[in-house]
Amino acid sequence: MLSTAKRAGAAPPPATPNGQWSQLPLPVRYLKNWVRRHRLAPYLLLLPSAVAIGLLLVWPAIQLGIYSFQDYGLPQVTGAAGTQWTGFGNFSTILSDPEFWSSLKLSVAFSAIVVPLTLVVGTLVGLLLNRLGRRMAAFVSTAALLAWATPAVSASVLFVWVFDPDGGLVDWVLRRLPGWLDGGAHWNGFSWTNAALPAYTVITLLVVWQSFPFIAVSVLAGLKTMPPELAESARVDGAGPWQIFWRITYPVLKPIFMVLLLLSVIWDFGVFTQVYVVIGGLGNRDEFNLGIYAYDHAFTMPPTYGLASALALILTVVLLIITVGYVRASVRQGAID
């Protein structure tokens, strides 16, 4: 009875048996009453996180929106010149810049290849893990966990070394492959990072290597919730593995696949660290994706923060549109009770 009344916030603070409450100084007591009467406790608890997130995530996003309509460069940072509003000037500069279109094309093409590849590889490994015996499954998932756990910078540096023209493992293997597999001496000292296509081949393998474990583990978690009789009875009726997957597994796990698809698009469209390390910083402009291109405008001298913000805003808006889908899928799965 007492606890219900308290939760409703209607009852005055109970006098504690040991008189602890009345020992507090009057202003503190008054404040406590006030918090309780107005049911402010949850808002007070949220305050620190709301301030931190507001100042470092939400406000910078708004700032990007503001800066993208300004001519913001070094003079504005040092205070030598005032704010200059340029309307849609930055956006029209961007849209007429061929480098923007090539970086956008790279980002889109990269996601279009890596997302399905990661999903297919991850799902196959998840299905495999589900069928393996316990010890074998533990072995395979530990291996996958190691790839997943490797920090992006370590993994990127490692792949650059594996694909290095002097002493790298891949060029050495390719040199020794038989001719019908395109092996041979032309791989001698082949540089994988000097042009966009080979560089993004390396980044593709790198990102798939790092992200398939997450897909596999998530698919496996979904498979474990499925009653095994479903697939069993289909098998008895003569359905092959292909049919079982598309007729039974996929429809049941569709919400999970939806979330995984959206997360993968968000990550792969916005991939930064791996690209930055593999292409070796901001040197090769024809290897920029959208994120690196925006970053380059802000942090290569002379900085053009206005243009960079407009680019970053485009990237953010694209990702937010996909995020809306992700949030809706999560809410439908009951993420917010």
Partner: protein, 281 residues
């Protein structure tokens, strides 16, 4: 009968292939780290070092490769990571109590806001945060990184902790309240010990995020090499004309080990929740 045995063998074979292909790069990192340079650049690379050496690790630790010892960067990384994990855990716990224990206006809004901001691209926001930090003198300082890492860890840690708080039965707290404990005491003495395992798990995720983070460190720390955190340090090897791959792989190994260890600790939690994905680089 035979077809079943055949299928089992095929599945196991598939498992072995997947595991080996996945392990090759990691194996190559370790193998290179223990090779003397004559073997690293040999015309026919060997899988295992024929004369294993600790020379690369020694060169990394006493700093003969880039002029500064490993300890400097380890210290920077530890300071930034531990501080941001500690602060974000406290803030996240408060917020988790609010969303798991109270019904109030904007509760659902707040939760959805967390889901959305979690997806904002760091490399976009970094432009505005850089300019803000410039005005606040937080560039080239570990404090700036701590502030940024704390805030960026929050959406995921709140989201995760919320589930842990929700699993603690409300009756335990109510019983304590009836016995005369004030709300602060209830949370401190009753709730905290019960959510401790969850707090450990979320701290590990915050740790991995801060330990691995690259974009902010790259942008905020500029050219002050002595402030570099480990990810920048590992990448710094590449900026020097000819790369010493033995030392790079040794540094990379030392940087990777703690993360892998933590991953193994939370292995079971990882497989049970989609939130795990938020730790991606």
């Amino acid at each position: 009968m035979r077809s079943r045995r055949f299928r089992r063998a095929a599945l196991n074979g598939g498992g072995v292939i997947v595991a080996l292909v996945t392990l090759i790069p990691i194996f190559w990192m370790l193998s290179t780290a223990f090779k003397p340079s004559t073997e690293i650049y040999s015309l026919t690379p060997r899988l295992l070092p024929s004369h294993p050496t600790l020379g690369n690790f020694r060169a990394v630790i006493d700093g003969s490769v880039i002029g500064m010892p490993y300890w400097t960067f380890l210290r920077n990384s530890l300071v930034v990571t531990l501080a941001s994990v500690a602060i974000s855990s406290v803030i996240a716990l408060l917020a988790a109590i609010a969303v798991a224990r109270f019904r109030f206006r904007f509760r659902a809004t707040y939760l959805i806001m967390l889901l959305i901001v979690q997806m904002l691209p760091q490399q976009a926001l970094v432009i505005a945060i850089f300019l803000d930090f410039k005005g606040l003198n937080l560039l080239d300082s570990l404090v700036g990184l701590i502030v940024a890492y704390t805030a960026f860890a929050l959406p995921v840690t709140i989201w995760m902790l919320r589930n842990f708080v929700a699993t603690v039965p409300r009756e335990v707290e109510e019983a304590a309240a009836i016995d005369g404990a004030g709300p602060v005491r209830v949370y401190w003495k009753i709730l905290l010990p019960l959510v401790a395992p969850g707090l450990v798990a979320t701290s590990v995720f915050a740790f991995i995020f801060a330990w691995n983070e690259f974009v902010f460190a790259l942008t905020f720390l500029g050219t002050d090499t002595a402030k570099y955190t480990l990810p920048l340090y590992v990448q710094y090897f590449q900026q020097k004309g000819t790369v010493d791959w033995g030392a790079t792989m040794a540094a990379s190994t030392l940087f990777t080990i703690p993360v892998v260890a933590f991953f193994l600790i939370v292995q079971r939690r990882i497989s049970s929740g989609l939130v795990a994905g938020a730790v991606k680089g």
